[in-house]
Subunit: 78 residues, 2 copies
């Protein structure tokens, strides 16, 4: 199954890359606030069971994909 | 409105970072294929009109956020 993991910085963690992009957009006269940049991880997990796919993805987050000190992950099974 | 832009590499563009993470997961005995890493951009656009928020986000993608040669973007208005 196709699984999407959205990894974003926790609230309160400074995001200089996001700040830079936000200022860049202001330079183009776009009105935008609170821009944050995270990681998008897309993958195929070879199972037909959505619950198992989600559990596998959660285990991957815990083992490797996410730094739990600074980041939080949202798992979407597509 | 909260807007999420998912930026991913187009099919056929090599993703060495994704390959490295996939191999790392294989090292932990996870079964996973076709892992690709992209960017997640979250922001607030100060309007209450979802269509306008989407149009603004699309314009930002065209101007700054996305490299149309290598990347494609999916816009989600939340």
């Amino acid at each position: 199954m196709k699984v999407r993991v959205l990894v974003s910085l926790k609230a309160g963690i400074l995001d200089p890359q996001g700040k830079a992009v936000e200022q860049g957009l202001h330079g183009f006269d776009f009105k935008v606030e609170h821009l944050r940049i995270g990681r998008l991880i897309e993958m195929d997990i070879p199972t037909y069971n959505p619950d198992e796919a989600r559990a596998q993805a959660q285990a991957m987050c815990d083992k490797l994909l996410v730094n739990p000190v600074m980041e939080k992950a949202t798992i979407e099974v597509l």
